[in-house]
Amino acid sequence: MDLNLTAEELTFRDELRAWLVSNVPKDWSDWREKPMEESFPYLRTWQRKLQEGRWAAVSWPKEYGGRSASLMQQAIFWEEMARVEAPPMANSLGLGLIGPTIIAYGTEAQKKRFIPKILSAEEIWCQGFSEPNAGSDLAGLQMEARLDGDHYVVNGQKVWTSYGWVGNWCELVVRTDASLAKHKGLSVLLVDMKSPGVEVRPLRQMTGESEFNEIFFRDVRVPTENILGKVNDGWNVAMSTLMYERGSYGARLHLIFKSYITRLIELSRNIQRNGRPASQDPLIRQKLAQCSAEIEIMRFNQMRAFSRITATGVPGPEGSIQKIFWSELNQRLQQIAQEILGSYGQLLAGDPRAIEEGIWSYAYLRTRGNTIEAGTSEVQRNIIGHFVLGLPRSY
């Protein structure tokens, strides 16, 4: 056990730091609170700049434009990005999830066709997984893909699609054989979102905004060459994408949460409770301390998991404890924020009296989604129960 960075990790970090100093945009704060429709061209430009420095997809193999970065280097990458408050990348699903899946399962022609444009943000990707009747039970999805000559004809509906409104391409999980047991009859198609019959609608969520879309497919024709992986092996392809989702997401959260708690501690110094600053109220102090400690523990868990993955080679079901930990911690953090802010906590963006432009009321509502998106806490606990602890399946 040695938590000091190795010489190689230090070199990686210093090179990145130096690059960020001269390249990270200074005006992101003017854009960050704007709707994504407005800021999207800005995010594309930022991603292209990262790509020029070969920083857009550090985890990818070198031959595909990445740096073959180790998990520790990836963690360093996200920490450094968070440290300088760098904007997100436009094609975050393409870079984080779908690109790696295409690299793992794609044909040479597919890799050649899709990978460069994922990197350059020229083609934005979205993910068509969940359906109205297939959320946690993803393998129960119904979207039909019927073979018709050298095309599949796709019919059905997807929901909770991030980036659907701007997506050029979609990683779509479909049912290619209804006669097989449910997860055995699935395939993954790479679908051009401009295809006739694709309709994207905004899905308004409880925060009032629309981060996600619903997508309707009516007789959409997809060339058979656009199947990713083998026919009826879509479950494994899709699971590989979800592993990337659970594996890499946590790394960037530590500094984000830390900046929240630091701002909250700062606020607690200026808010009065029982005739003294909230920061001197014993109960508030207990809660802030608990939260600060858990933010550190989240990181320790992450680092341990990375070391284990580095040793064993593959992300495993342990990622589920990360997912549960960060999502529930974020909810507790926002709950404490609401306790400290009192009546002001409810004020929305736009209200002149809202604290910090209403970020806290927004975050409070938004974190309810954390324990649902990317696998509900219940599904994660099932995964731990069955795959980690070896308990019999519960369903």
Partner: protein, 367 residues
Amino acid sequence: MQFGLSESQEFLKDSARKFFAGECPSAEMRRLMETDTAYDAELWSKLTDQGYTGIIFPEEYGGVGLGQVELMLLMEEAGRALLPGPFFSTVVLAGSVLDAVCTPALKSKYLAPICRGEVRATVAILEANASWNSRDVQLNAANGKLNGEKFFVPDAAVANFIIVVAGNGVFLVDSKAASLKISPMSGMDLTRKLYVVEFRNTPAEELGSVAQLPRAFDIATAALSAELVGGMQRTLEITVEYAKTRKQFGKPIGSFQAVQHQCADMYLETESSRSAVYYAGWALEEKAPDAATAVSIAKMYASDAGRTVGNRGIQIHGGMGFTWENDVHLYYRRAKASETAFGDATFHRERIASAVIDSGNVAAKTA
């Protein structure tokens, strides 16, 4: 960066697990807990043969010279076996205090015999107010004598000498002194016995100043947290095994989500405690600026998790969990005693609060 165990650390942990499984299985642990002192001379000499009594101490005093992370691993395995007797009080607590406070001459005199397994020792800290805050210590030595009493002193009846934390220094008394009275307290944890120690003009040798105590106490606190992790691990194992085999409604109860999700939470709490403890061990070893806060994070989390893992373990066992014959309650008892020892979660949260609210930010060294 490598937050996994090295090969030699894995080896140490694995051999400790095998050692405790062979020398201190459940039946032996239960036999010892029914005795007055929970001490067994034969087991002690085997612990000595393994080098465990000198694990973190310098070789010049007969120690093995391993690091703090190694101590965490050993204590984790000791906790998993619910090792009864004075190992924590002698080696971890008294040993660390002697190592931190004493001159080389005094270390040769008192620490070396601990490493060689020749003596048992303990440290008397708490008084009637049961406060872990050092400024609440009221006992003071005067003219080389101690007068007063200390409470909750672990394993005092088998200690050859007792180290006493006083307001004006750290002192050592011979436990055979006629002016010393040792009487048992009936604690919940049957494997680690507690005592009241009364001093009536008891001759006391000054070991050094209290200034060096915080590091020794941090080591003891982290080690106790590691022991809690081992207890959680064993509770989790016993419980998962039971959930796989116990059938109701024609199915193993572990197939019900209400049960399965509790097991998942036990796993999450155990692993998170372990991460915090390993980090604390590493921070202590490196003498990192955040070491004291890292110890508080570990103790805070493990104190609460030790209890909740036990709660869940007992609940999942149903009626069996409420019986004397099931080991889970023995771990639960230890967890309750360890929860308050060296400060409970509330105590450590306030320590963390003063670090993150009053004096800047909690920052892991590597962040």
